[in-house]
């Protein structure tokens, strides 16, 4: 098989080999059942912990391996070939962990990150609310100072790994009249007084991941659980999402690759009109477009991930691109995969119908693809204003 040489390091090759092995041995055999039963993939999370994968992005001083965005992207791309509900559960822990990593004090990092790196505790990121989706500034959750405590009230919605995670990074309003500048980030722990979980959502796809409400009812947390400074919450959320978005792109690449693999395999053995359907140009051209767009998406994700790891500070536009394009590719490719498999593709006996159901979320979560276009468009406007 001719493959693009992405000049991976020896360590990066190891990450690819290991995550591929886990995908083949541990994820693919159970993915249909996990999807059917909406079962949280704890067994696989334990395998990922045993494999040191939760340690990937965490610095060595906190028990991690000190990898960067590229390493994370390589890992989730392979895992996504198996099941993106499992991969999202894994990736969501990094999303929840980034605010601590980026803005936590050394004490907070020492307290939380070693358990996260060891895979003993999952982290969840709580930004979205019923009326604050794309418009994150519309957050209604509040946090009020009360002596040595913060008191949180409100409800977060659609929080990945809600109820299963031990640690939650939450964005709440501390000064409502300041708008986006009135948001602050906090660390909340499972078991904190006044913190409970609402209903578990029923979803079209991504069914093995847990998506739940977080309910704060006079939830009192110690003062030192504030992340960063008061009023910095919105920036923390945006920086976190900027860093996580190439990972979502990588999930799109992995999912699309899996759909292509199934499509080619099927097209080679499915006989109609006396010949395998891959001999028909109608099918060949679809497969060619799928393969080409996947490779382009992969190249974009890797290039952006490496740019971030090289220390580029201003990467919102780039990470939006690295999320936008591969996830649109994943939707198109998985839809075409169902088309190539025809009636069989629509049946649950083949994996592509799940892939298509799952793919849709990639265009919605961690910022809809419309929001990504806004980010890119606004950046272009700014950049060209400077050029004059």
């Amino acid at each position: 098989m001719s493959k693009v040489n992405y000049f991976l390091t020896e360590e990066q090759e190891m990450i690819v080999d290991l995550t591929r092995q886990i995908t083949e041995e541990k994820i693919i055999p159970v993915r249909a059942e996990l999807d059917r039963n909406e079962a949280f993939p704890w067994d696989i999370m334990k395998d990922l912990a045993q494999a040191d994968l939760f340690a990937l992005y965490i610095p060595e001083e906190y028990g991690g391996l000190g990898g960067g965005t590229m390493e994370n992207c390589l890992a989730v791309e392979q895992l996504a070939r198996g099941c993106i509900a499992v991969t999202t559960t894994f990736a969501a822990s990094a999303l929840g962990g980034y605010p601590i990593l980026l803005f936590g004090t050394d004490e907070q990092k020492q307290k939380y990150l070693p358990d996260v790196a060891a895979g003993k505790k999952l982290v969840a990121f709580g930004l979205t609310e019923a009326n604050a989706g794309s418009d994150a500034a519309g957050i209604q959750c509040t946090a009020v100072e009360d002596g040595d405590y913060w008191v949180l009230n409100g409800t977060k919605q659609w929080i990945t790994s809600g109820g299963e995670a031990e640690i939650y990074t939450i964005i709440a309003m501390t000064d409502r009249n300041k708008g986006a500048r009135g948001a602050t980030a906090f660390i909340v722990e499972k078991g904190d007084e006044g913190f409970s979980f609402g209903k578990k959502e029923k979803k079209m796809g991504l069914r093995a991941s847990s998506t739940r409400e977080l309910v704060f009812n006079d939830c009192r947390i110690p003062k030192d659980r504030i992340l960063g400074r008061r009023g910095q919450g919105f920036i923390i959320a945006m920086r976190t999402l900027d860093l996580a978005r190439p990972g979502i792109g990588a999930i799109g690449v992995g999912l699309a690759q899996a759909a292509l693999d199934e499509s080619v395999k099927y097209a080679r053995q499915r006989v109609q009109f006396g010949q395998p359907i891959i001999s028909f140009q109608a099918i060949q051209h679809m497969l060619a477009d799928m393969a080409t767009s996947i490779e382009a998406a992969r190249a974009l994700v890797y290039a952006v991930a490496r740019t971030i790891d090289a220390g580029e500070k201003n990467f919102s536009k780039l990470s939006a691109m690295a999320k936008l394009f591969p996830t649109d590719v994943a939707m198109k490719v998985t839809t075409d995969a169902v088309q190539i498999l025809g009636g069989y593709g629509y049946m649950q006996d083949y994996p592509v119908e799940k892939m298509m159901r799952d793919a849709k979320i990639l265009q919605i979560y961690e910022g809809t693809n419309q929001i990504q276009r806004n980010v890119i468009g606004q950046a272009l406007n700014k950049e060209y204003a400077k050029v004059g």
Partner: protein, 262 residues
């Protein structure tokens, strides 16, 4: 607990082909993998270490490329490993193999527990584990399906599968056990393990290094004479019966009567 796990590199069963003329395996282009049961043996050793502490060593007899098997075991979490390798070991049957492995184990030191897979999927003899126990002069429990540590690791309680059911036995250490696939689910490698495996030098011990007599190893030490080997052919007539189970049973009885069997 000091644990030694004996493993074997075998041809990957999913890619193996036969030379029908010569009646041998085609080795070219066939990947070597760790014998499937040996993954369970490694996992048993690692799980015991997780539970009671200690050290897990792994050893194999084979050609130099058997180092790959040891590296894989290290990536799974074993502490160290060696390959016993010498041209003189070629052609060993199970008698010569157990002699060589016993010499190697004695060279490495004292172990509380030696773990082997139930059998290797290439030779399928299931003789090396028990034979090695005899050589080492320790008790042997084969086909272990469940394992429990007693008395702070001085004893094991084992459930072993036999033809008519299960035995539950207790054994004092040191001892040797052979394990079934049903004992555990082998873990995946870890990134740290893979990095360590890459960097580790795998010692290669020769016949001389382990103090083995050349007349007792390899072909010279193997009384087993392979007269011929043949590749089984599957040319029996086959017929698939269709329909509901009842109809299939009726059809089958009809066929058996027709053939004069019933």
């Amino acid at each position: 607990m000091k644990i030694a796990v004996c493993i074997k590199q075998v041809p990957d069963a999913s890619t193996v082909r036969f030379d029908k003329e010569k009646g041998t395996l085609v080795r070219e282009g066939v990947e070597s993998v760790i014998n499937p049961f040996d993954y369970n043996a490694i996992e048993a050793g690692l799980a015991l270490k997780d539970q009671v502490g200690g050290e897990v060593s792994v050893l194999t007899m084979g050609p130099p490329q058997a180092q790959d098997a040891i590296r894989e075991a290290i990536s799974l979490g074993v502490d160290n490993g060696i390959v016993v390798s010498d041209r003189a070991f070629a052609g060993a049957d199970t008698l010569a193999t157990t002699y060589t492995l016993a010499k190697a184990i004695n060279k490495l030191g004292e172990f509380d527990l030696v773990i082997c897979g139930k059998q290797a999927v290439d030779g399928d003899t299931a003789q090396v584990g028990p034979g090695l126990a005899v050589r080492l002069g320790i008790p042997c429990v084969t086909c272990v399906d469940e394992l429990e540590v007693l008395e702070d690791g001085r004893k094991l309680r084992l459930k072993r599968m036999c033809e008519q059911g299960y035995d539950i036995v207790e054994v004092e250490l040191p001892a040797l056990i052979t394990v079934l696939a049903s004992l555990n689910t082998p873990r995946v490698p870890s990134l740290k393990g893979k990095m360590r495996a890459k960097k580790t030098d795998i010692p290669m011990l020769s016949a001389e290094d382990i103090g083995a007599e050349t007349s007792k190893v390899g072909l010279a030490g193997s009384p087993t004479q392979v007269a011929t080997t043949t590749v089984p052919t599957f040319d029996a007539k086959r017929e698939m019966l269709e329909g509901e189970p009842e109809e299939q049973v009726d059809a089958l009885i009809g066929k058996l009567k027709e053939a004069g069997i019933l």
